[in-house]
Amino acid sequence: MAGQVIIALDGLAFGLLLYCVAAGLSLSLGVAGVFQLGHGAFYLAGTCLAWWLAEEGSWRGFSAALVVGAAAGAVAGGGLGDVLRHLREHLDQALATIGFGLILVDILTASYGAQPRAVEPPPGLGGSIGVLGRSYPTYRLIVIAVAAVLATVLYLVIERSRPGILVRAVAADPDYVAALGVQPRRVQVVVMAAGGALTVSAGVLGAPILGPSPGLDSTMLTLSLIVVVAGGLDSIRGALFAALAVGQIQTTAAVAWPSAAPFLLFAVLIAGLTWRTRRHANTVRVT
């Protein structure tokens, strides 16, 4: 019983982290209409930053990694959003972001040496505390707390604040927002920047749990795409449920029956898709 709780906690930590990554992807796809397949590379960049600046675990290095990561993520995300809007078709955007991701991953891989690296948590967070009579790494509880705060803030901003309402309005009808005197493109670039910052920060935060390693970028990309599709392209809440489910599958199921995890993930994808009404282009353009 206690063992299952421990694994479920792991799943929660991973699920919340994944939510932060997927939210960035969901915003760029839903609001900016940009199909960002370099997203996994952004996460990998975050873990690499943490490894460079805080491998041995230092508060200064860790906070520097967070600040640099958020800034670099914002610049790269916003820049990508600005460049990619010239590519109208999602297919071209997919090609361009795959290319961008390959180049970024290539540089990162050269820097961390193409082998799994461990990153120490900041001093004081490296120990364990007792959970139901078992010891549990303190840092994972911190990640759960921080990611939960990030998720809550994100939710409140999108659902309650005026900028958040504008963001949703741009996703629904950019022309209407333009009629209000707000340039939808600016909103889109800002959203892409926020998504980039969030993803790289999540990478820094997650590095002590899951350090830089080959294939981490495509794993995170695939999982967050599953979260986005299963949760709904325009639903911040749906993405949260999907991320928590995927987090549990990745930990609980991976322990119980490793080969089943891919099938369960696919089941989540199908369930999410069929649950929502299917909307495919079935309408003829009208004058």
Partner: protein, 342 residues
Amino acid sequence: MAHATTREHGAGHVSMDPIAQSSAVHRPRAAHRLVVAAALLAAVVAPGVLDAYTISLATYALVLGLLASSAYVLTNVAGLPTLGQGAYLAIGGYTAAAISHTITTNGPAQLIAGAAAGAAAAAAIGVLAARTRGTTFLIITLAVGALTQTLASRAVPLTGGDAGLAVDPITVLPGASLVTVKGYLYLYALVCTVIIGGALTLMLRSRFGLAVRGIAANEPRARADGYPADTYLWVTYTVAGAVAGAAGAILVATRHTIAPVDGGFVVSGLALLAALLVTRTLVGALLGATVIVAVRDLIAPNVLAGHASALLGGLFLAAAFARILIRPLIHRSEHAPARRSP
């Protein structure tokens, strides 16, 4: 007067036309035929002039070219952009390997089994995937590819895990000896590719192919003509799965190994890139695959040793932006919309 202006614009329109490049597909021009003939000739004489390493690269280019053909059929013909054809390559490859270990070393038999396995898997996934369009389809195929790769690396008893699986050489005719010479393996792959490519061409030129094009370009019109769109796209997805499965079987037959990464995200991406890189035709997909293998395995080691994937990344970016860089040159015309008045 009003009538005259309309006509003028109609005529002006012909010169500025933005319609997709697909015209080349069903109106094979002399130039196109010449390219096909030249490519085929070069492919046939290649083993006589190239060294063993280059021949093995050329063989892989054929495998990737077949995978790109399956991506081409989905992306360019059916309008369903895919990033997951690698999954069916892996399924076909592991099936061929299993056949090789248990039933027969006969290459064509392995090929048929691989294609059948790819088709069966695609038919199952297609029940869901072929009902979606656009970005959702792209994401589903990507997820299918990634999850298949994960499955392949975890199902160690069947697949040997990340280390991969070693496979015995094939025989081509029953009772004949094992084929191990690289040049012959290349020719085997070439013959298979030409046969499959020819079959695909026939399919695309048939009424079925025409209808699939129609569904991609204007689904309501095609449905109003009486074509069940979802069913046709499901069949197309299944055929593409079969071609990718066949590519996997050829990979196993010619390289004697298969690992999960052979059907991974990057390979699926390369297949899509190959389908879009040169000209958007079936032969273009094969040429695109050749270019990609040449860049990755011939040029990259000399230019940017150890950074082949960055070079491929550049190729992806070039392919994405080439279209918008070239488009304005084609579309410039008197009545093109102007953002700003003179």
